[in-house]
């Protein structure tokens, strides 16, 4: 179907169903129950799931296929966000031109950085990309935000003011990013019994774009071009000996993944019209590496899973505070309750990094293929059937990430 083999098509359909039904799937607990703490079906987090999914899918095209580990991908995300907000400020709140410019500028920027960085491979490549990204961060954070020439608005982040020109902004359009008049923040809450489900325009716009991005990634993975990229990863030297110049392929992969990052950045600005310099920092670049490895580098679905996993931790676990814990364990006798709360507390709330770090270590040690490998093992355990997981098996690299 649509140029995909059956296994990929099945996977693609699963992704479509999961993303479109996400408002139901992510809100499994009634709103007033104690478990509602774990509900993730609110617009902001759902948007983050798919946007970082796009980011990680793109990163995986570079890292999963060619093995080039870029530590500077957040720079492209930032460039995308800034260009989108500038479109909002100067021209219109419509998200289409903003996202378009975000992708184009991020692509050009990736071409520039990739052209220089790809002169080297391995750790030197990683360091070069890291250096470029930190340079971009410093530029955005202070150099390009001085009062005379304010391109990025520094620490505060670039935002839209009421007195910005916005040449094509009409009187009947919402004062927020919109898709042809349909505000990205428009939300409908559907109440079924004790459950509330949120249907958000911004989410569905991002979700449709992610599905398209995912489809494109499948096609790239299965194309002759994708095969060349894998050849770059498995043995670059031999490829050169056979008379092929590997660098244009690697550069193309770099630019494509940079454009994916720009797309994600543009979408981030579209659902929330503010671009902060922190999203270009090396921690943000590291995050997408974590997402990809956690989910399974080189697999199709892995990066999306990894992105969802990390964002869920960041947004749900970080909000469990002491009083929430006390309310959970209030059925215990007083002394015991305090002991249990004191034991659990370091791992939730502000300690969510600790929990995530431990899980990451466990995954890397016991499941080098990431969450996808975990899923495959579970599948094997039950029935030893190939159904569904076949596509993932085929694309999983047996060698762990470099």
């Amino acid at each position: 179907m649509m140029g995909m083999n059956n296994k990929d098509a099945t996977l693609f359909l699963i992704v479509i169903v999961l993303t479109l039904l996400a408002p139901f799937i992510l809100n499994p607990f009634p709103t007033d129950s104690a478990m509602a703490q774990f509900n993730a079906g609110y617009p902001d987090l759902m948007q983050r799931f798919v946007i970082f999914g796009i980011f990680a899918i793109g990163f995986n095209i570079l890292f999963g296929l060619t093995g080039y580990l870029s530590f500077g991908h957040a720079a492209f995300l930032g460039v995308g966000s800034y260009s989108a907000v500038w479109i909002f400020k100067l021209f219109t709140y419509n998200v289409i031109p903003a996202i378009g410019l975000a992708v184009v500028l991020a692509g050009l920027f990736a071409l520039l950085i990739g052209y220089v960085s790809l002169r080297r491979s391995g750790i030197y490549f990683s360091i070069l990309t890291l250096a470029f990204a930190q340079m971009s961060f410093a530029l955005a954070y202070s150099v390009l935000s001085n009062p005379k020439f304010n391109l990025t608005n520094g620490e505060t982040g670039l935002q839209v003011y009421a007195d910005d020109p916005q040449m094509f902004h009409g009187p009947n359009l919402p004062d927020l990013p919109h898709l042809f008049g349909l505000s990205m923040r428009a939300n409908h809450q559907m109440s079924v019994g004790a459950w509330d489900f949120n249907f958000n325009v911004g989410y569905y716009v991002c979700a449709v774009i992610m599905i398209l991005a995912f489809y494109l990634a499948i096609r790239i993975f299965r194309s002759p071009f994708g095969m060349m990229l894998r050849a770059v990863k498995s043995n670059n030297t031999r490829m050169t000996y056979t008379g092929l110049n590997a660098r244009p392929y690697a550069l193309a992969a770099f630019v494509i993944s940079g454009m994916y990052a720009g797309l994600a950045g543009g979408l981030m600005a579209s659902v929330d019209p503010l671009a902060g310099a922190e999203r270009m920092q090396w921690t943000a670049s590291g995050e997408v590496v974590l997402m990809t490895i956690l989910g399974g580098a080189g697999t199709l679905i892995g990066p999306i899973l990894g992105a969802g996993f990390i964002k869920y931790f960041e947004n749900i676990f970080s909000k469990i505070n002491e009083s929430v814990l006390h309310s959970w364990f209030s059925f215990l006798p007083d002394g015991l309750e305090d002991v249990i709360v004191a034991m659990v507390y370091p791992f939730v709330g502000k300690g969510w990094h600790l929990t995530l770090g431990m899980l990451f270590m466990l995954v890397v040690i016991f499941l080098p293929g990431g969450l996808v490998e975990g899923g495959q093992r579970v599948m094997k355990l039950f029935g030893k059937k190939k159904s569904g997981s076949g596509a993932k098996e085929k694309s999983t690299q047996s060698t762990p990430a470099e």
């Binding site: 179907m1 649509m2 140029g3 995909m4 083999n5 059956n6 479509i16 479109l20 509900n39 609110y42 617009p43 902001d44 987090l45 983050r48 410093a138 954070y141 202070s142 935000s145 009062p147 608005n153 520094g154 620490e155 505060t156 982040g157 935002q159 003011y161 009421a162 007195d163 004062d175 927020l176 349909l182 923040r185 428009a186 939300n187 409908h188 809450q189 559907m190 949120n198 249907f199 958000n200 325009v201 989410y203 569905y204 716009v205 449709v208 299965r222 929330d272 503010l274 902060g276 922190e278 999203r279 947004n315 970080s318 909000k319 505070n321 709330g349 502000k350 990094h353």
Partner: protein, 448 residues
């Protein structure tokens, strides 16, 4: 590899599904039934406390959170009532807000605009918070204030000192109790003149971001009005941890005062470097070399230790104040946590009380009602003397404290002594003052 089995029926089916999927969000865009964003319907009301729990300002964040929890206790009628008993407005009954029990959710801003907005959005969208408060950096405050304006939620700013928060970035739904860089300059200038004379040469080291610039601008303007000369202003990267290379040129510049427009960890490092270079023991131009830290906090003094002795600066509030409100707050905070509150704790406690009181007086949680109740509101008894929430820019006007690092501290908390309480009239400015110009409050937004 690619196998196409495209049939007419299959195409019809899939396009129908795709069409339904695309149409889904448009069907459901009808606005919800409530009159305004997150209208509390049950027996409780949820407030969102968004503070840095990790990162460079985590100390301030932790103290803010303590104050918020204390305020919630007092609002719900538990504890000794703290400043509710001394507050000039008596609308609060100790039965929650408008009879609804106060509940709260917390989040981590990480002192990053993006993370702070994500956290605030989840409070608004998931937890149904009707007011967001907190923050410990001007960048974060401005970013979250913008979000609250768009979403139709009230934002009560925490620790934010940049002129921009109520200047060019002011918003109708945002309110600031804390003082600002201009007020620091205006309060410090007369004290600097009386202590160090009117003929000084100043050298500025400034954290290179929004807050640093407005701070530098304000102090330069205030000191040059005294007759001081500004030798040079040098920007330092926010991420810098070693300032030796910035301090060394100061020695040969002919300057006799060093102004550190730094905050938090930056200030602790730069002042320690300056003291290590022996700046404070120098005689330049026949005068003793001095260091000024325009924005001071007890938590910073604690971090910098010995280095802050004798150093002048300004602060919003200090626990050693002897008015009724301050005494009640220090007592109540001390009983609860065994330590005196910081200025961050004080301003966030006040903000919570002010919000609750405004709801009571307005008789509603509707943001537009609350804005109306807070604009031009005059009150007393919250530790800063008579205070006005100015309607034009939603900035509080009150006395400002000039403090000095104590030479002989009696305890680990007793690090600053109040040199002067600068009266409110001296730090007031016109809403269209050039340092604050360019902004627009806009209309209040209730998110309906």
């Amino acid at each position: 590899m690619s196998k196409s089995n495209l049939t007419r029926r299959g195409l019809l089916k899939s396009s129908a599904v795709a069409g339904a999927g695309l149409a889904l969000p448009t069907i459901f865009t009808a606005s919800s039934a409530s009159a305004y964003m997150n209208e509390p319907t049950g027996g409780s009301v949820t407030l969102g406390f968004n503070v840095p729990q990790t990162g460079p300002y985590a100390d301030e964040g932790a103290d803010e959170l303590r104050a918020y929890k204390l305020a919630v206790k007092h609002l719900n009628g538990e504890g000794d009532g703290g400043m509710m008993t001394t507050f000039s407005s008596k609308a609060l009954q100790g039965n929650g807000i408008l009879g609804k029990k106060v509940e709260f959710v917390t989040g981590d801003t990480q002192t990053k605009s993006d993370a702070a907005r994500a956290s605030a959005k989840s409070m608004i969208e998931k937890d149904g918070a009707v007011m967001i408060t907190g923050g410990s950096s001007s960048g974060v405050a401005i970013a979250v204030q913008g979000l609250c304006q768009e979403a139709g939620i009230i934002f009560m700013a925490g620790l934010t000192h940049s002129n921009d928060t109520t200047g060019k970035d002011k918003k109708a739904n945002g309110f600031r109790h804390f003082f600002n860089a201009y007020m620091s300059g205006a309060a410090l200038a007369p004290v600097l003149e009386s202590q160090y004379g009117a003929d000084r040469k100043a050298y500025h080291l400034t954290a290179d971001y929004t807050w640093g610039w407005t701070q530098e601008e304000s102090i330069v303007a205030a000191t040059e009005a005294l007759g001081w000369e500004t030798i040079e202003t040098v920007k330092t990267p926010l991420a810098a941890t070693d300032f030796s290379s910035y301090i060394a040129p100061v020695l040969n510049s002919g300057a006799d005062v060093l102004v550190l427009n730094h905050y938090g960890g930056n200030m602790i490092n730069s002042i320690n470097n300056a003291v290590q270079f022996g700046l404070l023991d120098k005689q330049v131009n026949g005068k003793k070399f001095e260091i000024v830290v325009p924005l001071y906090s007890r938590l910073m003094a604690q971090g910098a230790g010995e280095a802050v002795k004798g150093v002048l600066g300004s602060t919003n509030w200090h626990w050693s104040l002897q008015d009724e409100g301050s005494k009640a707050f220090v007592k109540s905070f001390g009983t609860e946590y065994g330590r005196p509150p910081s200025q961050a704790a004080h301003t966030t406690y006040c903000q919570t009380l002010l919000y609750a009181d405004a709801c009571e007086r307005a008789g509603t949680f509707n943001p537009c009602g609350v804005v109306e109740a807070l604009e031009g509101f005059e009150f007393d008894g919250l530790g800063n003397g008579p205070t006005l929430y100015r309607a034009e820019d939603h900035q509080c006007f009150k006395d400002v404290l000039v403090v000095r690092g104590k030479e002989n501290p009696e305890s680990e908390f007793d690090l600053l002594e109040v040199v002067e309480v600068t009266p409110r009239a001296q730090v007031e400015y016109a809403p269209d003052h050039p340092m604050f110009a360019g902004g627009n409050l806009g209309e209040c937004n209730d998110g309906a």
